[in-house]
């Protein structure tokens, strides 16, 4: 007869964290980007509350510059699982004059998401936002707590973080504050991909090899699109590529790949020697890029 000893300790930890969120907070939300990490979070939440439905909504901060494949996928998943989805648009924050669109060669709406996110947290009075950030992604994230308190301006005070001992998660906050929750903190990129393979989780098609119009800049492969600034001399090519990480089109670089199914993707990750965030254009700006964005309330 079956026992549970074969189950991944990381999955057990993540399910425990999901349940702590539902128990300790009044208005949690799961921040959903349509990327593999947030898709993994949805599966973990399903597992945590079965046979009941996931007791919180999903929220997508849409930059308006997403891959269309991601948006189609998002809408289908939400419908299949009967979940509530909230969408807030960066375009609205721009129209309201709260943020200014970046211009030029490296312009991206990625950083602008922060304002839209913080406004939405205030609008819905969310007290806990579950996100798919992992500590292995980046040095500043390596110091992030599982329950990470944000003040009423949405800011992260990295020098004054609560110690987290044993399994005990302290979610006590004041009115106006919120907690960012990272259930897959201790997962690596390979852990996520292996989990997607084992669980047979569906993910957007752009994670698999496909033909795409691209151009090259700074040794990275950029998508040719209306949303991405491109100079005249930057030649458009067609290549077989896939994405390792999926964010806004203007900040996500592709990799050359023939991996067209999950098994070959896992194999590729296992052998790969460039870390995942190496394909994130926004982090190349400076060594402290991520930490600065986090202090301002970025995810």
């Amino acid at each position: 007869m079956k026992d549970t000893s074969h189950i991944n300790p990381l999955e057990n930890e993540a399910i425990y964290i999901m349940r702590e969120v539902a128990a300790q907070f009044e208005k949690p939300v799961l921040l959903f980007s349509g990327g593999k990490d947030s898709i993994t979070l949805v599966r973990l939440a399903q597992k945590a509350f079965y046979p009941a439905k996931i007791p919180f909504p999903l929220m997508h901060i849409d930059t308006g510059h997403n891959f269309p494949e991601t948006i189609e996928f998002r809408d289908r998943l939400v419908e299949e699982l009967g979940l509530e989805l909230i969408v807030r648009n960066v375009q609205e924050s721009i129209d309201q004059g709260k943020v200014k669109e970046e211009t030029g060669r490296y312009s991206s709406r990625n950083a602008l998401q922060t304002t839209t996110l913080l406004d939405a947290i205030e609008e819905f009075k969310f007290d806990a936002c579950i996100g798919g950030a992992r500590r292995d992604e980046e040095k500043a994230r390596a110091k992030e707590r599982i329950f990470s308190v944000r003040d009423d301006f949405g800011q992260w005070d990295e020098k004054n973080q609560r110690p987290e001992l044993f399994d005990m998660l302290n979610g006590q906050i004041e009115l106006g504050q919120n907690v960012r929750v990272f259930p897959i903190s201790n997962w690596t990129e390979l852990d996520v991909w292996s989990y997607i393979e084992k669980e047979d989780i569906e993910i957007p098609s752009i994670y698999f090899a496909h033909k795409r119009k691209i151009f090259l800049r700074d040794g990275l492969i950029w998508s040719h699109s209306d949303f991405v600034y491109q100079e005249d001399h930057e030649e458009v090519l067609e290549e077989t590529v896939r994405f390792r990480t999926v964010g806004d089109m203007s900040c996500t670089a592709a990799v050359l790949s023939e991996a067209s199914d999950i098994a070959s993707v896992v194999q590729e990750i296992r052998e790969s020697s460039i870390s995942e965030r190496g394909a994130r254009i926004d982090d190349k700006r400076s060594e402290a890029a991520m930490e600065k964005r986090k202090q301002q309330g970025y995810f």
Partner: protein, 415 residues
């Protein structure tokens, strides 16, 4: 895949970050872009070697001061195991981070600078790893290259450390000594030609052979209820599942259990892991349990096996590690979180402060400062269900929360 969590401890400049960087480098865990960043920065700083500490020192403030100021988590894996290293700082004022890192670890690495030998900090690091009952401790005697890989120096440091070991409370702890040079790579992942007198394992070899069964503290099964699942759908109309994580030992379908605090008895009907029914819930698995009888159980309650009850009391004595800048005074009230259960606690008595360098205790005190470790008696507004920390690492520990700041201000280990 097996996951092993390791806490590291060492004083400033003992080379802790360098050691971790070395492990990552020699296990080929550093990716091309990370390695490039390290090469670039090392060159800018004018070093003629690679500064691996740059791989782990994450925050801007740390890079400026060249020190580690908070717990950082580093991940790597071998074909046999996944590893998580909790890199905790070694400054006197950061005992709290060390306790935090150690609380979730099964193994610890204590670094000693071969030129300096056992210093007060070493005592402190060992004391904390022993207090937290870390099963496996590796004493890495580092910078051997700077003492000409001298066997004599290694042996004399080892002898000094063994003297400390005789004073420890948790005698069953497994302790291993390894002479290393993190900077040059001796005996970290690869065996060194410079230490022909050392026949033991390298640091990584030691970690690789640690058996999961031996490094986890086990005890009797405890099931603190986290959340009650009531789907209220057609199909699961009467379903009442108790969601939680099993600690200490395993639970089986058919086990006779008692729900605390009501002390009502029932039997385990089903164990769910997601949509699968299982016969057994092994330790540390997040399951949902249903009972044969309809009894009233809510968050913070606990299911235990009949005849295997924990202590149920409103008062207990514990060793606590104080972590807040605001002092703890006799008579103060705190929120005490024991697992997922929260109660109010009042400090009845501070018995004595323990000097974490094994130099004895201080009596007649009525207040604790940040980083103090002390024996304290608490009185609670309602009973909790606990075991002694030495018998049950999970059910014998708690945290203290300041009701005003909501911050976690202390950790405790029940006597």
């Amino acid at each position: 895949m097996e996951v092993l969590k390791i806490a590291t401890a060492g004083s400033v400049d003992d080379g802790k970050s360098t050691l971790i960087g070395r492990i990552l480098y020699d296990t080929k865990s550093l990716t091309t872009d990370k390695l490039e960043a390290i090469e670039k920065t090392s060159k800018q700083k004018g070093y003629d070697y690679l500064d691996f500490s740059l791989a782990t020192d994450g925050l801007v403030a740390e890079r400026e001061q060249g020190i580690t100021i908070d717990v950082a988590h580093i991940y790597f894996s071998t074909p046999y195991k996944s590893y998580i290293i909790a890199d905790t700082p070694g400054h006197v004022e950061y005992t709290r981070n060390m306790v935090t890192g150690a609380s979730t670890s099964q193994a610890a690495i204590i670094l000693i600078d071969a030129r300096k030998g056992v210093i007060e900090q070493t005592n402190r690091h060992f004391f904390i790893n022993n207090l937290l009952r870390i099963k496996d401790v590796i004493v890495a005697i580092n910078k051997m290259d700077l003492v000409d890989f001298s066997e004599e120096i290694y042996n004399s440091i080892k002898a000094d450390f063994e003297e400390l070991m005789s004073k420890r409370d948790y005698q069953e702890q497994n302790i291993t000594f390894i002479p290393v040079s993190a900077l040059k790579g001796d005996n970290v992942v690869n065996h060194s030609k410079n230490t022909p007198w050392y026949n033991g394992q390298t640091l990584l070899e030691h970690l690789e052979q640690l058996d999961r069964k031996d490094i986890y503290n086990t005890g009797t099964p405890r099931f603190p209820v986290q959340y009650v699942i009531r789907p209220k759908t057609e199909e699961f109309h009467d379903f009442r599942g108790f969601a939680g994580k099993v600690y200490g030992g395993e639970l089986k379908v058919g086990d006779e259990v008692v729900a605390l605090p009501s002390e009502t008895r029932s039997k385990i009907k089903d164990i769910y892991y997601y949509n699968e029914k299982c016969q057994t819930a092994s330790r540390r698995s997040s399951v949902t349990i249903t009972l044969e009888d309809e009894i009233n159980v809510s968050r913070g309650d606990m299911l235990v096996k009949i005849g295997d009850l924990p202590t149920i009391d409103k008062q207990f004595t514990a060793t606590i590690s104080w972590m807040d800048a605001k002092n703890l005074n006799a008579g103060n009230k705190y929120v005490l979180q024991h697992g997922v259960n929260k109660v109010l606690a009042r400090v009845e008595n501070i018995h004595h402060k323990i000097n974490p360098d094994y130099s004895g205790i201080e009596e007649d005190i009525d207040s604790l400062k940040i980083n103090d470790i002390a024996k304290v008696t608490f009185k609670l507004n309602k009973p909790i269900f606990f075991d002694a920390f030495k018998n049950h690492r999970t059910n014998g520990s708690f945290i203290l929360i300041d009701a005003q700041s909501n911050s976690t201000v202390g950790a405790g280990f029940i006597s």
